[in-house]
């Protein structure tokens, strides 16, 4: 299998082509083909994963063909399968297959189901290309591919103005990040002449500090765009306009973690500059707090989960920014997050399915009795994300918080460790609020609601993901960290003694988690008001996404539209004016000039005579003068 890695990508790509090109003929069986393709890739991925164990160096590299060649620059279409890629391939195809299966039920009544599966398979193919490439251009190819699939799927219900706008917003904000990433690739080509991972990483030491910093910042910009991190986070919550399986697969489990993959893959670059690492950590810490604060103020079930995704990816950025052994911790948290967040998104989809697409958590309540399986599986996701032992969140988030405390500078430990710890408490608060308002307390439904459990094709993936949410963290925590070690750096041998001991941190975070959850339970046990309530400045700011959208609008969008209007004015009046004026001048002038053609023979004769006299006069003047 390791010599035929391209099959992993080719199967979903071929399936996408069939689904998108076959037309209505494929409507009856198309969705099953769509489920089979990622499942087949998953099986192949498993075979490759087990094949990796016996391989020297535990990495299989293969060059399919020369992608392009110009002068000294050669870029291969090359694939690389190493432990880091392996865990991503299994996450993408494994969780992806379950979500595809779920979507068969969720999209059953949608007439665009075949198109949906076509885009979904396209996404899987692009995401696999992203993680399987052996150079930055392959990564970029997949990166743009998932961006396209994400755009198509956010705007899947394109006749809804909000969905169409959200798709455009996601595309535009991603473009900012992608531009950074593209410039980073140009910089590599200019400075190192190669984009191949191994060659780039072996030459990082030869670069100046400034170049490494710029390169890292550009890569970070790309990562922030794709992963919804500050300052490019605004598109991710709006992306929830797409169908729920899309939110689960693309905007929670896989695509948005591509930024974390990018930084983890580029770890030799990021580890080479401590300023760079500090910036990554700051972005992560800021975003995780932002996500928590805004998530606590939202009333739309999918938006709360979206802000929670932003916040959890903030934890991962914190991890990859800390460097050293924390790279692996971030990747493990990413895997666990893939399970429990996909589980909760699908659970939210199941709730919406039973409640006629209601998304307002103020209009839920008391659903536990009517949707037993959804309730139980969602509970597993909830307990996992707030980090209650022995569920997976505890084993994956706790080490990141501990690592944030174990830095050489005391102030860094306090600031970033404190942020991570505070985030854990806030996470417990808003997730408990979401859970209690949805499944417990009095019913606050709108009229005519008959909640019911979803069909088996939807709850089977939920159960499997719930099992993953429970056990994945505990199973993966220590073996995977060691296993990820050639591509990711090993934890340093010498122990850094942080400002707080391990036990103290664990106890503190558990206490904060229980406090946050208990507070939310006490506040929302009896339900909540149906209308927005007057609130203090913090809550109002959180409801308005901490004014980040307003900031973007005032600073980027408004001047942008002014500029456009000014340019349109210049174009209409200035450039068109010159062109039209010239034409009018020639037209008007010739209109007057043609009056000379009177049609009278004698006037022509007079002009001929006058001309003759003139020529004669001139000749005489020259001759005699």
């Amino acid at each position: 299998m390791l010599s035929n890695l391209w099959l992993l990508i080719a199967i979903p790509a071929a399936s996408a082509a069939v689904l998108l090109l076959a037309g209505r003929k494929a409507d009856r069986w198309g969705h099953w083909l769509g489920v089979l393709a990622p499942a087949a890739s998953f099986v192949l991925g498993l075979i490759a994963f087990f094949g990796l164990r016996d391989l020297p160096g535990r990495a299989a590299e293969q060059t399919l063909w020369t992608f392009f060649k110009s002068g000294d620059m050669t870029i291969d279409f090359g694939l690389l399968f190493d432990p880091l890629t392996a865990v991503f391939v299994l996450l993408i195809t494994g969780v992806g297959s379950l979500i595809h299966l779920y979507a068969v039920g969720y999209m059953a009544h949608d007439e665009g189901r075949r198109r949906f599966f076509g885009y979904f398979n396209l996404f899987v193919a692009a995401m696999l290309l992203l993680v399987l490439g052996n150079n930055y251009v392959m990564l970029y190819l997949g990166w743009e591919g998932v961006g396209l699939a994400s755009y198509l799927l956010i705007s899947f219900w394109y006749n809804r103005p909000s969905a169409a706008t959200a798709g455009k917003k996601a595309f535009l904000m991603n473009r900012v990040g992608d531009a950074g990433f593209a410039i980073a690739i140009f910089l590599m080509l200019a400075q190192l002449g190669t984009v191949n991972y191994n060659q780039v990483f072996s030459q990082v030491g030869a670069l100046t500090t400034g170049t490494v910093l710029v390169l890292g910042l550009l890569l970070l910009l790309g990562a922030c765009g794709k992963s919804g991190q500050f300052p490019l986070q605004a598109w991710l919550p709006d992306a929830m306009e797409g169908p729920t399986p899309v939110s689960a697969l693309i905007h929670a489990a896989t695509m948005v973690t591509a930024g974390v993959y990018l930084i983890a893959r580029s770890n030799p670059i990021f580890s080479a500059n401590s300023t760079l690492q500090l910036i990554v950590v700051s972005v992560g810490a800021l975003t995780l707090l932002m996500g928590c604060i805004i998530g606590a103020a939202k009333d739309d079930i999918k938006r709360v989960l979206a802000w929670s995704t932003v916040s959890q990816i903030g934890y991962m950025f914190l991890g990859v920014g800390l460097g050293g052994g924390a790279y692996a911790l971030a990747i493990i948290h990413l895997l666990a997050h893939g399970f429990f967040k996909a589980n909760m998104f699908l659970g939210a989809g199941s709730v919406m399915h039973g409640m006629q697409d209601q998304v307002d958590i103020r209009r839920f309540g008391g659903l536990a009795k009517y949707m037993k399986i959804t309730w139980l599986t969602f509970m597993m996701g909830w307990l996992a994300i707030i980090g209650l032992p022995p569920l997976s969140g505890f084993f994956t988030k706790e080490p990141i918080i501990a690592a944030a405390f174990e830095q050489h500078d005391a102030w860094k430990s306090w600031v970033f460790g404190g942020a991570a710890l505070l985030g854990a408490g806030l996470t417990a608060f808003y997730m408990t609020r979401l859970f209690v308002l949805t499944f417990h307390g009095p019913k606050r439904w709108t009229d005519g609601q008959h909640p019911h459990e979803s069909p088996a094709v939807m709850w089977i993936p939920l159960v499997l993901l719930a099992i993953g949410s429970v056990v994945a963290g505990g199973l993966m925590a220590s073996p995977v960290a060691k296993w990820l070690e050639p591509p990711l750096p090993a934890a340093p041998a010498e122990e850094v003694h942080g400002v707080l001991g391990h036990t103290a941190i664990t106890v503190l975070s558990l206490v904060l988690t229980v406090l946050g959850a208990g507070l939310a339970w006490a506040l929302f046990r009896r339900g909540t008001a149906l209308e927005p309530q007057p609130a203090g400045p913090v809550v109002r700011a959180a409801r308005a996404n901490l004014y980040t959208d307003a900031f973007n609008e005032a600073v980027f969008e408004k001047p942008g539209s002014w500029l456009t209007r000014a340019l349109v004015y210049v174009d209409n009046k200035g450039i068109d004016g010159v062109v039209n004026g010239l034409a009018a001048l020639v037209g008007g002038g010739s209109g007057r000039l043609r009056r000379l053609q009177t049609g009278f023979v004698r006037s022509y004769a007079l002009s001929m005579l006058a001309g003759g006299v003139l020529v004669l006069g001139a000749l005489l003047a020259v001759r005699l003068g």
């Binding site: 043609r594 053609q597 009278f600």
Partner: protein, 99 residues
């Protein structure tokens, strides 16, 4: 008698012809004025030939007469056609080819 008087006569004839072309409207008269100008030119050519003592001018005059004869044939035919369609020989009436 010096040849100079012939030149003067040619100039006078040419001027009469030119003025006639400019001021008259009848196509036939116009045509005769054109002939007058042509013959004034012929007279000048013959005179110069006499002054210079070569035959070039006289040969040139013969050419001009042949061309004038051909021109008369075509010109009169055109005038005839215009008269038939418009019932008028005035050149001012045939003024359709204009702006």
């Amino acid at each position: 008698m010096t040849p100079m008087w012939y030149i003067v006569l040619a100039a006078v004839l040419f001027s009469i012809g030119a003025v006639g072309v400019l001021v008259r409207r009848n196509a036939i008269v116009l045509f005769m004025c054109v002939e007058l100008m042509l013959n004034a030119a012929n007279l000048a050519l013959v005179t110069f030939s006499r002054i210079n003592g070569t035959l070039d001018g006289q040969i040139m005059a013969f050419f001009a007469m042949v061309v004038a004869a051909a021109e008369v044939v075509i010109g009169l035919a055109i005038i005839m056609l215009i008269f038939r369609t418009r019932r008028s020989a005035s050149v001012d009436d045939a003024n359709l080819l204009k702006y």
